[in-house]
Point group: C2
Chain length 359, copies 2
């Protein structure tokens, strides 16, 4: 079978869940030929119905295979792709990179030079093909993690895939990748789980005091335990290294509080502040200082639209918005996050348009 | 000196920072006489300039004294208020309740029956009188934590204060309060600090992979270390109890990952999920399942207003909003959080109005 190849096509996507379907949709924007496979044929039907590609034909000869299956199946599926498609470049989009690579090396899989692991930093609390979106990767980092023996042409093909999907490729070794995601994803997830664990079974009147802080810290702890067990176990070495560091900090914190050594407590809190400042701005730039302007918004249809219309006319760019609205109250509180230097102008201009604001 | 007493006045607010100024502004909405004091006279000038009350006269005889000073000064300032104003009810708005009470009991302070500790669950990343707002407490929980010897009339007066400020009083003992805030505020803060601590000094290319999850988990770790040291040390017993439980969980987690005991890892992750489900809805009701609809919004003035106008016409209530906008890209992604059962209607209706959406 032949197909008109796009810039990176034809592409076979193995696994038509959230990520596979989204990759198909993103590539179809560029008219790349996309073939879809999944052990669950209804996923393929759904994904192709959404326009993510067509079911893979029997004699398909893809230029690129993207393996988008659960963590535990990554190694075997990459091996199968390398074997079944001896001309194709093969990548995967799994959240750990060294363990599947070690598995492939141990099995002495042929054609390993054609394999380049990758990992788009995008996801959703939902899963399955219906959650897929052509814009899922827009502006997101996408780690490209080639092993030392990878063919440069294969690295280029996988980098091109990330770019076609609208993401920003970030090149690193598989080992660096796994430590990086342990730091920026797996450890924060586990800290969130430990904080949330203290809430399970707590008296309702304790939980009545919950504010925005605990909600933010524990939000990601709601993630699927089965999936996260695979992620954490698949990245055991890097996760254990960081958990060991955390245990050291935790012991130091407990000891400092027990002995009322205030400097010891402040040192640990200071380190946390430095950590928050180290996170780059949402899209890779330096973090810009922001400030919030709170606006009381009456609960009438159209009031929110009127607020944004006024903010638009004032000409201050809204970086983020939060709404705190109690259905039992006539007024909601809308938090407009803007650049620090613009907060005063926005608040004053909104006040002059009869909005009640505070900062 | 005499003054026209409002429903709970005249009220003396000791400490004209964020909380003291906000209480003054909230009470002035109800024409309660408010007197302001602060060791920093410029804070009193600023707060009274904002309309939060007037500087306390020499012969003031308040009906209620609200002590709103840093944690370390709570005990001495409450003692002074009880002594200087032998007819007044005295409360404080500190974030710990048993330690100041123990201090007052130890010093055998006279008039302790007139003291009722309280704690509004409201704050801001900003501090000082300029950050004050009459609406800071609107719809927030406000813990009322009387000791067993407190006069019922004093409890009623402090409960009335919380209500006048727009908050929802939540009654509990001082001991319950301190364990409750250790669970819902102090422990989440420390878990956030431990996660953020692993980012300090990390290589920039690791941090480039930071997504929304780590940003949410570590946001509150940016809080003032000096203030948080006082809070944590002031609530040492309850915080240590929970930190001990966390150390037990952490040791179990490390052991389960080391031995690849998958059930052990899943058990801990499950407990975290149950914890997130235990948090009540933002305003005390049961948590309602929500779903996000993502909308691509062109970077033209007025587009955000047009989106909210369309959402308003569609008639779906927006529970929350997040904006993910890269200044370098022509299109931003707006996340509209709505009740789960309304997401499909909103997405379909927006699509029919030519918005590009995904869920």
């Amino acid at each position: 079978m032949t197909a008109v190849a796009g810039p990176a096509g034809p592409v076979l996507v193995v696994g038509s869940g959230l990520l596979g379907t989204s990759i198909g949709l993103a590539l179809r924007r560029h008219d790349v030929t996309v073939w879809l496979a999944d052990v669950a044929s209804e996923h393929v039907r759904t994904a192709s119905g959404l326009g993510a590609g067509v079911p893979v034909p029997a004699d398909a000869s893809p230029a690129l295979v993207v393996v988008a299956v659960p963590p535990d199946l990554l190694g075997p599926e990459v091996a199968r792709a390398l074997e079944e498609h001896p001309e194709a470049v093969v990548t995967d989009v799994g959240s750990v990179k060294t363990a599947p690579l070690a598995e492939l090396r141990e099995k002495r899989v042929a054609g390993l030079a054609r394999y380049v692991g990758s990992h788009p930093m995008a996801g959703s609390e939902r899963s399955g093909p219906l959650a897929g979106s052509a814009s899922l990767f827009d502006g997101r980092p996408w780690a490209i993690a080639p092993h030392p023996g990878a063919d440069p042409a294969a690295v280029a093909a996988v980098t091109a895939l990330a770019e076609l999907c609208g993401a920003t490729p970030v090149r690193m070794t598989p080992e660096e990748h796994d430590l990086a995601v342990a730091r920026t994803s797996h450890l924060p997830h586990l800290m969130s789980v430990l904080a949330a664990g203290r809430l399970a079974g707590a008296p309702a009147e304790h939980l009545a005091l919950s504010g925005q802080g605990v909600r933010d810290v524990t939000r990601i702890a709601a993630g699927d335990p089965g999936l996260w067990q695979q992620i954490v176990s698949g990245n055991a070495a890097a996760v254990l290294r960081l958990l060991g560091e955390v245990r050291g900090d935790l012991d130091a914190l407990i000891s400092a509080i027990e002995r009322d050594e205030r400097d010891g407590v402040v040192d640990l809190l200071d380190r946390g502040v430095r950590g928050t400042l180290a996170i780059p701005g949402k899209h890779g730039g330096p973090p810009r200082p922001t400030e919030s302007v709170f606006v009381a918004v009456p609960d009438h249809p159209g009031e929110l639209a009127r607020l944004f219309a006024d903010a638009g006319e004032i000409g201050v760019n809204i970086e983020d918005v939060h709404i705190d609205h109690d259905p039992g109250r006539p007024v909601g509180l809308v938090e407009l996050v803007v650049e620090e230097s613009r907060a005063e102008l926005l608040a004053d201009s909104l006040e002059s348009r009869n909005w009640v604001t505070h900062r």
